[in-house]
Amino acid sequence: MAPLLEVEDLRIHFRTDDGLVRAVDGISFGLERGRTLGIVGESGSGKSVTSMGIMGLHQGTKAEITGHIRLDGEDLVTATPNRVRELRGSKMAMIFQDPLSSMHPYYTVGDQIIEAYRVHNKVSKQVARKHAVDLLGRVGIPTPQTRVDDYPHQFSGGMRQRAMIAMALSCDPELLIADEPTTALDVTVQAQILDLISTLQSEFGSAVIIITHDLGVVAELSDDILVMYAGRVAEYGSAADIFGRPDHPYTWGLLSSMPRMDRAKTARLVPIPGTPPSLIRVPSGCPFHPRCRYTEVVGGRRCETEVPPLREAVTPGHAAACHLTTEQRTRQWADLSAATIPDNDKAPEAEEQAGEPEAREPV
């Protein structure tokens, strides 16, 4: 079966006075029904621009979009604005980061859900209202019959996000995009919302794209992960591959710079040096090379001059855009994890990674 969503060589550029902003520069991925794709990256890596591109939200802006976005075989890049509008909300829906600014403060929560539902379905207001109450109940809002007439400001942050989810699900979308759905929420509420998204996903059978900078959230929800850097794909693979056998130095950097709750405290975090590049002047060759610690391992000036292709290394479906050879990667990652994972925690880790080459002693 063809995947529900196919993105092929997508480029989204913005022409500005300062130059051409290459926000998304040639990314490809596919997503099947019932699966969850996590897109991670730092701010400015192009994750939100990608999701807005899929939703057709760049129409009417200066964005120059090339490539293909196929939803169920239908190309959204070449589709008419009217057709995209028909699909948006019914076949694909989006949950935004900040529910307070993405809901209209002037209308009740119920009105906003009813409106979204009636745009795509020819039903009476009463039927739509019943549907709205039903949805609010399903996303876990207590006494939905009365809360449906409340205004967004009368909801707490977590409840607003639940209402947003209800709105997104009102037409039973096949593709749900959640852009930083829990970033504005406290951990306990975040846990509730993540639970809700995964329960509803299995109930509705939709494909979900979750965009976040929090690797914990991604690990919690995703089947596959796409790591973006400077508008390109740095690494793509299953959640187990990305967290267990990451292949790209940028992914290593992300993993080692996070303080981890599930491991004994490390003496020091290993940050990624420098800052993300400007998307107007993306570095030549591998966009990550100015911040990469391994350019000398590759040798020569290859990282500066040659763009590394995204290629599969060992496991099928796990690809990274890096010049390091498979042996070099295995060696470097083993060294790095030996340095960041304290001794008392290393034993079970080593068992998991069978065939790990001799890990050198941490310095």
Partner: protein, 366 residues
């Protein structure tokens, strides 16, 4: 003690030989209630937001206290009270032997050299119309401190200390990235060589890779300059990484206070247990069949109650799965269960008789 305050601290002088082990900061029964009033001419008090309601803390010299809790638990208000940006309703704050609880602005000024704050948002905490030199040099100007070598040289040394290029002296904040701006804020904080730094969410506005840079910087500065930190954060993994002691706040009260290792290894207050189990772990779980599994977690239902009308007795009882009648009638005091571990709960978790009650074995809240 008093002489230390009156002599302007020469930035090179470094740390005043501190008696390690004695508390630099001591907070007793600190209360801050924000009155809620009605009426325009005759303002009547109709209630109070109990933002901070009787907390006790002490921070040892050279150590870091982490203050965690959900939004609205009063952690930021506590931070603002500590640096006296706000007036406590009652209680006492003693910093380095000086009672600063009700000092007026003028009296407070000499003490400001000793206590500084790092703010959350590096975009709004720097004046966009001042150059980096002006921003970092402002403390010298405001405090009338004459520094050997001149302000400019000192500012450049500070910029170097926090990992910025000293040649950027004449640049404006907008020319810097978020992480660099946070470094500028830290340089300003360090200008007068304070003893105590209150950092309110110092890294939450930054990207993960940059977060690690700033956390490492804060740790290095602590080692180098013997600083004492109070770090306020909602990110439990960050707090675990940098704190020696951790205080967990819920609705204006401290519910648990312990050494880092003790708190994270064996949390005793149900709220702490729930909070820790809610943190997503970057390690996917997959079962042998290849299907993804969700971790078993304690899910707290609902939201934090309003601090305007906090629940009586134990404030957590409305969301607690262990709550019984006594929790609704008698407030549990913050008591030391084992040395170095204080908990305010009638039915603490992880107590010796209950063998390591993990999140999995705890019943789900209804």
């Amino acid at each position: 003690m008093t002489e230390q305050i009156q002599t302007p601290p020469a930035p090179e002088a470094g740390r005043v030989a501190g008696r390690d082990g004695d508390p630099l900061l001591q907070v007793t029964d600190l209360v801050r209630h924000f009155p809620v009033t009605r009426g325009v001419v005759f303002r009547r008090k109709v209630g109070a937001v109990q933002a901070v309601d009787g907390i006790n803390l002490s921070v040892t010299r050279g150590q870091t206290l982490g203050l965690v809790g959900e939004s609205g638990c009063g952690k930021t208000t506590t931070g603002r009270l500590l640096v006296r940006l706000d007036e406590p309703t009652s209680g006492q704050i003693v910093i380095d032997g000086h009672d600063v609880t009700h000092l007026r602005q003028g009296q407070m000024r000499p003490l400001r050299r000793e206590i500084q704050m790092i703010f959350q948002d590096p975009y709004s905490s720097l004046n966009p119309r001042q150059t980096v030199g002006g921003i970092v040099g402002a403390p010298f100007r405001l405090q009338n401190v004459k520094v050997p070598g001149g302000v400019r040289r000192n500012v450049q040394e500070l910029l170097e200390l926090v990992g910025l290029n000293p040649e950027h002296y004449n640049r404006y904040p907008h020319e810097f990235s978020g992480g660099q701006r946070q470094r500028i804020g830290i340089a300003r904080t360090l200008a007068l060589r304070p003893k105590l730094i209150v950092a309110d969410e110092p890294v939450s506005a930054l990207d993960v890779s940059i977060q690690a840079q700033v956390i490492n910087l804060l740790e290095d500065l602590q080692d180098e300059l013997g600083l004492t930190y109070v770090v306020i954060a909602h990110d439990l993994s960050v707090v675990r990484h940098i704190s020696d002691q951790v205080a967990v706040m819920y609705l204006g009260k401290i519910v648990e206070l312990a050494d880092r290792e003790k708190l994270y290894a064996k949390p005793r207050h149900p709220y702490t247990v729930a909070l820790l189990s809610a943190v997503p772990v970057p390690e996917p779980l997959s079962s042998p069949t290849g299907q993804r599994e969700r971790r078993q977690r304690i899910r707290l239902e609902g939201d934090v109650p309003s601090p305007l009308l906090p629940p009586p007795a134990c404030r957590f009882h409305t969301r607690c799965w262990k709550a019984q009648e006594i929790c609704r009638t008698i407030e549990p005091p913050l008591t030391e269960l084992i040395p170095g571990h204080q908990v305010a709960c009638h039915f603490p978790e992880n107590t010796p008789q209950v063998s390591a009650s993990s999140p999995e074995s705890a019943p789900q809240p209804a």
